[in-house]
Symmetry: C2
Subunit: 374 residues, 2 copies
């Protein structure tokens, strides 16, 4: 009997992803994820890159973010709907796939809402390791929503930040952050204004959600030596920094063509000079020049970080035996015979004979749980 | 106790999709799918459209095809790897998602390999209903691979085609088609050359897989009144028709900007006149003018057809109670509190309390089958 080629996709649900993080521990997750991100950024020229593809609507945006090298293809689906919280929904939700470039098989399908929060914070910290003053101990955190705890802890674990100065227009968001982080070693200071939070801070992180051209940070708030980690300005019409803040700073970006469209950079002329961050990591461009320079990472989120996050989550899930196999792609005895799947004589849910030894150590195939039709 | 907002994604596996088709019957599937396609094409201006985003590699391509209207967003992931069959894998594999534009929630995740074969054939038949001679009874089918049976049956059921003239360079492919369709009312004639298959046929369908600029059909083979359904030429460097075939024909396309890049049209000058097919359906442009005109549908596959296919499969699966809920997106009590999912004090796999009455009639939530960690 001829056996079909096995084409299974490993599926990592939200619960699986949370389980991966619980089992590995958040500090190790950030450390390993930062290693994946740095390794991938150092292979910058290996990747086929493009700005993400966005479909805009009145209240939000849905984007696809593909990227590939010679071996792997990754894409992320992600939305941005700032008003979602009114209906009890996250503003940002995501999932994605890692596929084999040689065959096109989608090998790994994962939730990416949690993973996006992790990789965004890890990317911010990786950038700050190169751009912030090495003696940085305090960070202002403007915006205490869904992404804020991840930023606070990534900077705590990867840069040694000891004190976070909190501000949000919604006091309940700040209370939530404090409740979530009270058992950590971080000192958390609630501030009554952005100015109070930023004053004297070594790093200023902005991570607000409103879809508007805001000026969360203005030039008068910026002090010599400060590093600005601008995370929330990531969409046309959604910015956080007054253009003068960028003019006073050395500006670093993930992928210039995308940031010119989506970043706080959108308000500056096309010839305003910026540095792609991979050049700093590769020692092809300087990072921070001196202790007084103002540095700014105008982060919008680039597909390469999701490529890194997908690789990390896949590897970690494999190590831990988490995840499930799903039947996303047909398994065929004869690859030119797709019709057999729906031929009237075909018994629909016949499970292909499986060689158990060839199966990865994951939970049972989802299809096994399906009822067999009469 | 505050309850989290339920955010479930309905997942339709390959087995579920095959089951949908078995239960509804292929003739009704084609009829209903054609209705969905026509309805969506008649709303052409409601859609935000773009050419698909392709990542090319040595042996293939991986593409993302997004499209949206004010209510729904759809995208398809699809590969094209002609050499896959050597390793027992399909050349084309696909999956996709239908999402809610208002919130960004990915509501329906489905296999699309089977569905792509169905929608491609349904689209070909919908076009031929407008473009082929109404008295068409015979079709040449050049290329007898994975898509061929679907083409044969869509034309049988939707146009009344009675005889199919078969040619493939691989005789085993033709044998497979005959075995699959022997119990239908179609007359199947094996031909020893393309010329023999095409001679006297009312419709010539080309659906070959090689990634090369081929000339499967040349102008000398084309007879007055013929309709050419060019399906396999769908990628830069992958064409089937000699440019003179297009020059002799009235050429119809799905979405002109994409077909100029990907279709057989890629070999013709940018000002070569074509008609977008929606105009014919909307009676804004003529279809076939007279019985002797040669018409050509230069099909490459457009995102709108996948939007239609996803809608149809979602609706059909709902009617039949097929599919499963998967946890692709976090369910949160406080949408600004994503961190709670990985907080050390959070019990990872605690299932949110569910109101059974609010659940659609599908199989159990996949997450329910997960082992609870110790």
């Amino acid at each position: 009997m001829q056996l079909p080629q096995l084409v299974q996709t490993q599926f990592l649900s939200v619960h699986d992803a949370a389980n991966v993080i619980h089992k590995i521990g958040l500090k190790t997750v950030f450390t390993r994820l930062a290693d994946y991100i740095r390794a991938d950024y150092l292979r910058w020229h290996d990747f086929e890159k493009c700005a993400r593809v966005a479909n805009h609507s009145t209240d939000g945006v849905i984007e696809l973010m593909p990227i590939s090298d010679a071996n792997s293809y990754a894409f992320k689906y992600v939305n941005g709907h700032p008003k979602n919280t009114i209906n009890g929904l996250p503003c940002v939700m995501a999932f994605g796939v890692l596929a084999d470039v040689a065959t096109g098989i989608p090998e790994f399908l994962s939730e990416l809402t949690l993973s996006t929060a992790l990789r965004t914070a890890a990317m911010s910290a990786v950038a700050a390791q190169e751009l912030a003053r090495p003696d940085s101990k305090t960070m202002a955190l403007i915006g205490n929503g869904a992404q804020s705890e991840f930023q606070a802890l990534a900077f705590h674990y990867l840069l040694g930040i000891e004190e976070i100065r909190l501000f949000d227009t919604d006091p309940k968001a700040t209370e939530k952050l404090i409740a979530n982080l009270q058992s950590t070693a971080l000192r958390l200071k609630v501030c009554s204004s952005i100015a109070e939070a930023v004053r004297g801070a070594n790093i200023a992180t902005t991570v607000t959600a409103d879809k508007t051209n805001a000026a969360i940070l203005t030039a008068d708030l910026i002090e010599p030596g400060m590093h600005i980690n601008g995370v929330g300005g990531d969409c046309p019409g959604k910015t956080e920094l007054h253009p003068d803040v960028l003019r006073r700073s050395a500006v670093f970006v993930e992928y210039e063509p995308q940031t010119r469209i989506e970043g706080d950079l959108q308000h500056l002329p096309a010839d305003f000079a910026v540095t792609e961050f991979w050049q700093v990591l590769a020692r092809q461009a300087p990072g921070r020049r001196d202790a007084d320079q103002i540095t700014l990472f105008d982060s919008v989120g680039f597909a390469l970080q999701d490529y890194s996050a997908l690789r990390f989550m896949r590897d970690a899930a494999r190590e831990l035996g988490l995840g499930q196999l799903v039947s996303l792609i047909p398994e065929l005895v004869n690859p030119k015979d797709l019709f057999v799947l729906i031929h009237p004589d075909t018994h629909v849910n016949q499970e292909p004979h499986r060689d158990e030894a060839s199966q990865p150590a994951v939970a049972p195939l989802l299809a096994d749980t399906l009822p067999v039709p009469a």
